[in-house]
């Protein structure tokens, strides 16, 4: 991929006629040069990346979103892409077809089409490979932030390049990370709750209205079975009465052993009175219970009516506290869950890394590239270890100053080389101020020499206060005054 030109348009009409500025780049080496600092070299590079669709932090004095950028690049299949970005919307003109993308949601899709790389893990890690920012770029070796919040991870890049993207693992990791986030919010709530409890600000929480409400609920619950039992008893009484009336309606008379004639009715039916009395007594018992409950209900209801007429004086903060204190979260338990999940997250991450490292020929290849460049940069073997997994090192402390600078350079160009070998994409190499403070001119020339020899097919863009770089066909863009005149 190559950058052809960057056009910056002022969004607001200015009084002056020239409200746009175009920067053109050569196919090979380009140096953005100015003798003094603070004229906008870094801004120009960042604006280029912004125009490419990345989420780039503003530089001092310039808000990218204030401008419309039009970036022309030679992208996938050596075809022309014109990217017009307005804030978070980018329009791509390619082969006469315009397509819009919403950023950052569709960023991967956009880049995938421009670079012509379908593996998203590779696409995700491109910027960190080819762009070395002035601020963070020169300290980013194998994992971390390339610029702003754009991450780079060597494991992810290798995973993508070797097509070992493990969606299942990655998804589980994403889920766990999201859950940890949620649990952390829960913990916040628990802490907040503990705090308001501690301050004794919860006294009002169980408001009288709530008490009445729950009191009523309980009473209605108690009332129901009693009411049911009462109606059951009533129905039995009705059945017994009907039965007795039925028998009595026959007007039967029976003869007692002593010869007396006895009419058959409720007074003479043996046991009828007892059964009736028993039921009446039962009814009485349940009725009393019902009355007692109803009395309590009406007392509570009267209170409720009284409450309702009182002005609601609770503030929304009090209301919030009240709601929070009703949430049942246990800080200790939540912390335990978080700890457990963090453990799982680490295990998953390790597993992901392992899945990259196992029997991956790319590791040896990358290591070989890095080592050979390190040697050409005059770096001793003690800085770049012979062990393959050195490329995953976490040990940056042992490296310092110029050596670190050179190691970073070796890593970066190796990434670009590796990407070129495995995807066929010739990424540009964009370096912001390669001549850092502790790097000698000689070192810089060593670096540039490698670029000139080994990266002939790559576009090189360098921002520097020097312009004595020995590249063929060098295109120098000199910034003299303000980057943008509007």
């Amino acid at each position: 991929m190559r950058i052809v030109s960057l056009q910056v348009n002022a969004n607001q009409l200015t009084l002056l006629s020239d409200n746009q500025k175009v920067f053109s780049f050569g196919e090979n080496a380009n140096v953005i040069f100015s003798t003094k600092n603070s004229v906008g070299k870094t801004t120009l590079l960042r604006m280029m990346m912004y125009a490419l669709g990345y989420q780039i932090p503003n530089t001092r004095g310039i808000r990218f979103s204030d401008y419309e950028t039009v970036l022309t690049v030679i992208g996938a299949s050596d075809e022309n892409f014109v990217l017009t970005r307005n804030r978070d919307y980018i329009e791509v003109l390619h082969n006469g077809i315009e397509k819009g993308y919403s950023l950052p949601v569709e960023q991967n899709e956009l880049h995938s089409s421009i670079y012509g790389i379908s593996n998203l893990e590779v696409v995700d890690n491109l910027l960190g490979a080819f762009y070395v920012d002035q601020e963070k770029g020169w300290t980013l070796l194998n994992r971390g932030k390339a610029i702003g919040n754009i991450h780079f991870s060597i494991e992810s890049l290798l995973r993508g390049l070797s097509n070992r993207t493990n969606d299942e693992l990655a998804q589980r990791l994403a889920v766990i990370k999201r859950e940890i986030q949620k649990y952390k919010h829960m913990l916040d709530v628990a802490t907040y709750k503990a705090e308001i409890n501690q301050l004794g600000e919860t006294a009002f929480i169980d408001s009288p209205a709530d008490d009445i409400e729950s009191g009523l609920d309980i009473l209605y619950c108690e009332r129901k079975p009693i009411e049911e039992e009462l109606s059951r008893i009533k129905s039995v009484i009705r059945k017994n009465t009907n039965f007795e009336k039925f028998i009595t309606s026959f007007r039967l008379r029976v003869k007692a052993p002593n010869g007396d004639e006895v009419p058959v009715n409720k007074d003479t039916l043996v046991g009828y009175g007892d059964t009736a009395d028993l039921l009446v007594a039962k009814q009485k018992i349940y009725f009393e219970q019902l009355v007692a409950i109803d009395r309590k209900i009406s007392v509570l209801k009267a209170q409720q009516d009284k409450e309702a007429t009182l002005v609601d004086v609770t503030t929304s903060l009090q209301q919030f506290d009240s709601e929070i204190s009703r949430i049942n979260v246990d800080a200790v338990a939540t912390q335990k869950i978080i700890d457990k999940m963090e453990k799982e997250r680490r295990a998953l991450e390790e597993k992901l890394i392992k899945s990259v490292k196992q029997d991956n020929p790319l590791i040896a290849e990358l290591h070989q590239l890095i080592s050979s460049y390190a040697v050409r940069l005059g770096l001793d073997e003690k800085y770049v270890s012979a062990r393959n997994d050195y490329i995953f090192t976490n040990d940056l402390k042992s490296l310092s100053g110029a050596i670190f600078h050179k190691v970073v350079f070796a890593f970066k160009i190796s990434y670009v080389k590796l990407i070129q070998r495995h995807t066929g994409v010739c990424l540009p190499i964009i370096l912001d101020s390669p001549s850092g403070r502790e790097v000698s001119m000689e070192n810089v020339h060593e670096m540039m020499d490698i670029l000139a020899k080994d990266f002939k097919d790559h576009q090189i863009i360098i921002a520097s206060i020097y312009n004595n770089y020995a590249f063929p066909n060098i295109n120098i863009i000199e910034l003299t005054d303000r980057l943008l005149p509007f």
Binding site: L269, D274, T275, A292
Partner: protein
């Protein structure tokens, strides 16, 4: 019955209705009903033979306030004097909660128990003289031999404290019936409510039947400790009772079914001893009652338990009813 913030009249009614319960319990065998007249502070008990006990209930809000006790005594005697003119009056009772009904410290010892029922003849001389003085002054001519002075402790906001005497009497009553599974306070509350419900009418009469039948009803409830259930696990029993309680109740309360079982039982080996007879009866006959039950959803074991428990409950209830009715001469 909550007594907090009770106004004087509500307190008076509470005392009066509890005095009525007390007098009923003291006369439970002879009595047939009690009437409470709120307006005149009367408590009138009618005995089974038609004779009556007329009582005047006078309450003081503060037990240590003796300033009005003599007026209350005089008012009480006046009403009792009128009541004595009605035929069939057997007893005249002046009942109060003041520990010093005669406003005479020297006679207080006689009324220091929780419940003191003192016939005129046993009153301290000073008290007899005080009554005689009132009567001769006012021209009351009732027969003093009928008069009893009764002091019942009845104070405090706390129910346990205020109803101390009633709780003791209720417990004694239940003990006499040989009943242990009924909560004293539940039963007392039930009786008290019988008065309270009608408090607005200011006249309530309650029969002995209404006082005693709740005891029977509570005793007749099926419970986990039914003999028929002792061979089964507690958890099974609890489940069956929970699920089939209304089936069991419906049948043991249905007169048709009850009558059928009792008739069968009457004809079943009258020579046997009751415990054995009941056991054998259930064992041999429970299957005959299957048609009275609609237990489609139950398995055969459950069906058997439910039927056996119901039959047992009918027989047991009959015994309880006869037993309690006999004891209180209902």
């Amino acid at each position: 019955m909550k007594s907090s913030n009770a106004s004087a009249s509500a307190f008076g009614w509470d005392f009066q209705s509890n005095a009525a319960i007390m007098l009923m319990l003291k006369n439970i065998e002879k009595a047939s009903k009690v009437k409470v007249e709120g307006q005149s502070e009367d408590v009138e008990i009618t005995f089974a033979d038609g004779k009556t006990l007329m009582s005047q209930a006078k309450a003081v809000m503060k037990p240590d306030d003796y300033s009005h006790v003599k007026e209350k005594l005089e008012a009480g005697l006046r009403t009792l004097n009128n009541a004595a003119k009605i035929s069939d009056v057997e007893q005249l009772v002046f009942i109060t909660n003041s520990p010093n009904p005669f406003n005479d410290m020297t006679t207080m010892f006689k009324f220091s128990s929780p419940l003191n029922i003192v016939p005129f003849s046993e009153l301290p001389t000073a008290c007899q003289e005080a009554i005689n003085d009132i009567c001769s002054l006012k021209g009351y001519d009732f027969d003093k031999a009928l008069l009893t002075v009764c002091v019942m402790q009845f104070h405090g906001e706390n129910d346990d404290e205020r109803y101390k005497v009633l709780i003791t009497l209720t417990t004694e009553f239940l003990n006499q019936l040989g009943v242990h599974k009924i909560s004293t306070s539940d039963l007392l509350a039930l009786w008290q409510h019988s008065f309270a419900v009608n408090a607005s009418q200011l006249t309530t009469s309650i029969t002995k039947k209404r006082m005693v039948w709740p005891v029977i009803a509570i005793l007749c409830e099926v419970s986990e400790d039914d003999a028929e259930l002792e061979d089964y696990d507690d958890s099974d029993v609890a489940e069956i009772l929970q699920k089939y309680r209304s089936v069991i109740n419906n049948n043991s309360e249905r007169f048709e079914f009850v009558s059928c079982i009792l008739s069968d039982y009457n004809e079943f080996h009258p020579e046997m001893k009751s415990k054995e007879r009941t056991k054998n009866f259930i064992e041999e006959n429970w299957k005959n009652y299957k048609n009275s039950f609609d237990l489609k959803s139950a398995d055969s074991t459950t069906e058997e338990i439910v039927i056996r428990v119901t039959v047992a409950n009918v027989l047991r209830s009959r015994k309880i009813i006869a037993d309690i009715k006999g004891k209180v001469k209902l």
